[in-house]
C-alpha cells in the first residue's frame, strides 16, 4: 500500500531542503471525496495532500506552465518542480525527456505504484452505487476499492469501477522516479487494446457513422488539448494567433500563416482538429486518458489514441514512454517497415 504519511514526509523533505521549487500533488475538493491538483509551496501545507483512487489527473501537464514561466521571467528559479506520478504519468515524463522538452533535473518525481488497482471512472462508480452518494473513495486491500456511503463501508472489486485505461494499462508502476512509494506488483493487463477491438471490427460505414456522431458534438473547448501532457506546442493549427507571435514576428509572417482549421464547429473542422491531434499523439500518447475524462460532451478520444498506440506497436514494434533514450516514433524508421500498402 502507498502510505500517505510517507508521501507527505517525502514532500516535506523535498520542500524544506529547498530541493524543489514547489510540489504538485492532489488534494480534496472542499470537504468532498473528489480531488484536484494541489500546488504545495510550504512544508507545512503537506497535510493538504491526499492519495486516493480519484487522483486521475496527469500532473505532468503542469510542467508546460513551468517551462513557459521560465521563458518569461528574467531570472527564473530553475529548481526542479516536484510531482506525484502514477505509472502512466511517469511514461509521459519519459516522452518529454525523449523530445528534450524538459531535462531530467527539471523535475523531482515521487512515483506511486497503482499496485493491483488504479484510478476510478466516476460514471462507473455512480452506476455501481445506483444513486447513492459516496462520502469517501479509498484504496482497499488487494485489488479492491473501499467506498464509504452513508457511513457504511462498501468493498468494490477494482475492475468494476476502474477507468478503462487502467484496465488496459501496461505500467502500473512508475518507470522513472526519484522516490517510489508502494510495491511493484506484476499485473496482467489483459488485452491492451480491448476497448478498440469492437470498433475495428465494425463495417466501414458503421465506423463512419459512429465517429461522425462523436465529432459533430465537439464544442472545440480544447479541454482535451489543454489537459494533455503532450500538447505543449507553442503553435497549434487550431489557434487563431499562435503564442509564438513576438515583437519580432513580421507582419508578413503573420499574414502568411496558413489557417488549416476554421473556427466554426462544423463536422469538417472538428474532424480536422481531432485527426491532427490523433496523428500528432501517435507514438507520444501514454494513454493517461485525461482527454477523454475532461471532455464535457464525452467524445471517446481514447479510442483514437489507442488505435495509434496499437498500430505503432504492431507495425513498428514501438512502445511509448518506457525508454527516454529511444528516438520519437516518426523521427526514426526501420528498413523493413511494412510497405504492403504502397503501390
Amino acid at each position: 500500500m502507498v502510505s500517505l504519511d510517507q508521501l507527505k514526509e517525502e514532500v516535506k523533505k523535498a520542500l524544506s531542503s529547498g530541493k524543489v521549487k514547489y510540489f504538485i500533488g492532489y488534494e480534496n475538493i472542499g470537504s468532498g471525496w473528489q480531488v484536484r491538483p494541489a500546488f504545495i509551496r510550504q512544508p507545512e501545507d503537506v497535510d493538504r495532500l491526499v492519495w486516493t483512487p480519484a487522483c486521475f489527473h496527469n500532473l505532468v501537464r503542469f510542467l508546460h506552465d513551468e517551462k513557459r514561466r521560465r521563458a518569461r521571467e528574467k531570472n527564473p528559479d530553475i529548481r526542479p518542480v516536484g510531482l506525484v506520478v502514477k505509472g502512466c504519468d511517469s511514461r509521459s515524463i519519459n516522452v518529454l525527456l525523449q523530445e528534450k522538452y524538459i531535462e531530467r533535473n527539471d523535475v523531482y518525481i515521487i512515483g506511486v505504484s497503482c499496485e493491483l488497482t488504479g484510478v476510478i471512472n466516476i460514471t462507473k462508480l455512480n452506476q455501481h452505487l445506483n444513486g447513492l452518494k459516496p462520502q469517501k473513495v479509498l484504496f482497499g486491500s488487494k485489488g479492491t476499492f473501499k467506498v464509504i456511503v452513508d457511513d457504511r463501508e462498501i468493498e468494490i472489486e477494482a475492475p468494476d469501477i476502474l477507468a478503462d485505461r487502467c484496465l488496459e494499462c501496461p505500467a502500473n508502476f512508475p518507470v522513472i522516479a526519484d522516490v517510489i512509494l508502494g510495491e511493484e506488483i506484476k499485473r496482467n493487463p489483459g488485452n491492451r487494446y480491448q476497448s478498440i477491438s469492437a470498433y475495428e471490427k465494425m463495417a466501414l460505414d458503421e465506423r463512419w457513422s459512429f465517429w461522425q456522431q462523436q465529432f459533430s458534438r465537439c464544442l472545440r473547448c480544447y479541454a482535451c488539448r489543454s489537459v494533455c501532457p503532450m500538447c505543449y506546442c507553442d503553435e497549434c493549427v487550431a489557434d487563431s494567433i499562435a503564442y509564438a507571435v513576438t515583437a519580432e514576428t513580421t507582419a508578413d509572417e503573420k499574414a502568411q500563416k496558413t489557417r488549416w482549421v476554421e473556427r466554426n464547429p462544423e463536422l469538417s473542422e472538428n474532424i480536422f482538429y481531432h485527426l491532427v491531434r490523433a496523428i500528432h499523439l501517435a507514438g507520444r500518447c501514454v494513454d493517461c486518458g485525461e482527454c477523454e475524462r475532461v471532455c464535457p460532451v464525452e467524445i471517446p478520444l481514447r479510442l483514437l489514441n489507442k488505435k495509434m498506440e496499437k498500430e505503432a506497436k504492431e507495425l513498428f514494434g514501438y512502445e511509448v514512454g518506457f525508454d527516454p533514450a529511444q528516438p520519437p516514433l516518426i523521427a526514426c524508421f526501420r528498413d523493413n517497415d511494412p510497405q504492403d500498402f504502397i503501390r
Binding site: 469538417s268 495509434m308 504502397i342
Partner: protein, 140 residues
C-alpha cells in the same frame, strides 16, 4: 443522363522521382486520365499529414502521395520517414471510416512513366464507384 462521376485526385509527387515519372509519362505521350491535380513537393518525407487532411477537407475524392523507391531518396531517408508516418495516417483515416481507396501511397521512379500512368488509371477506376468524397469535405 447525368455525366459520369470523375474523381479528383490530389497527388503529392516528389520532385526527384515521382514528378519526373509523371513528366516522362507526359512527354512520352502516354495517355492517362486527367483526374489528377499534381502538387510537386521536394520529398515524400515533406508531406505533412496536414496536407492530406487538408486535401480531403477541401474536397479531394482521393489523395496520392508518391515518392522514390526505398534506397533512392534524393535526401537519403525522406521516403522512409514518409512510409512510416503515412502508414499511420492511412490507418487512422480508415479507422474513422474513410474508404481505404481514397488515400494511397506509391513509389514511382523517374523512369517509371508507364507505372505512373497505369497507377492513375487504376486509382480512377477504383475511385469512380465510390462517388464523391463528402465525409471530410467542408460544407462550405
Amino acid at each position: 443522363m447525368a455525366a459520369e462521376f470523375e474523381p479528383r485526385i490530389v497527388a503529392f509527387l516528389c520532385k526527384w522521382c515521382s514528378s519526373a515519372g509523371a513528366d516522362l509519362a507526359g512527354v512520352s505521350r502516354m495517355e492517362y486520365p486527367p483526374n489528377v491535380i499534381p502538387i510537386q513537393v521536394m520529398c515524400s518525407g515533406s508531406v505533412s499529414p496536414l496536407y492530406v487532411f487538408s486535401a480531403l477537407s477541401h474536397g479531394a475524392d482521393g489523395v496520392l502521395v508518391s515518392g522514390c523507391h526505398p534506397g533512392d531518396c534524393h535526401y537519403i531517408k525522406g521516403n522512409y520517414y514518409a512510409r512510416r508516418r503515412l502508414a499511420l495516417v492511412k490507418k487512422l483515416l480508415e479507422y474513422i471510416g474513410l474508404e481505404p481507396q481514397r488515400f494511397q501511397m506509391s513509389w514511382v521512379s523517374a523512369t517509371e512513366g508507364v507505372k505512373f500512368s497505369q497507377l492513375i488509371y487504376d486509382l480512377v477506376k477504383e475511385l469512380k464507384p465510390l462517388g464523391p468524397q463528402t465525409k471530410f469535405r467542408r460544407n462550405y
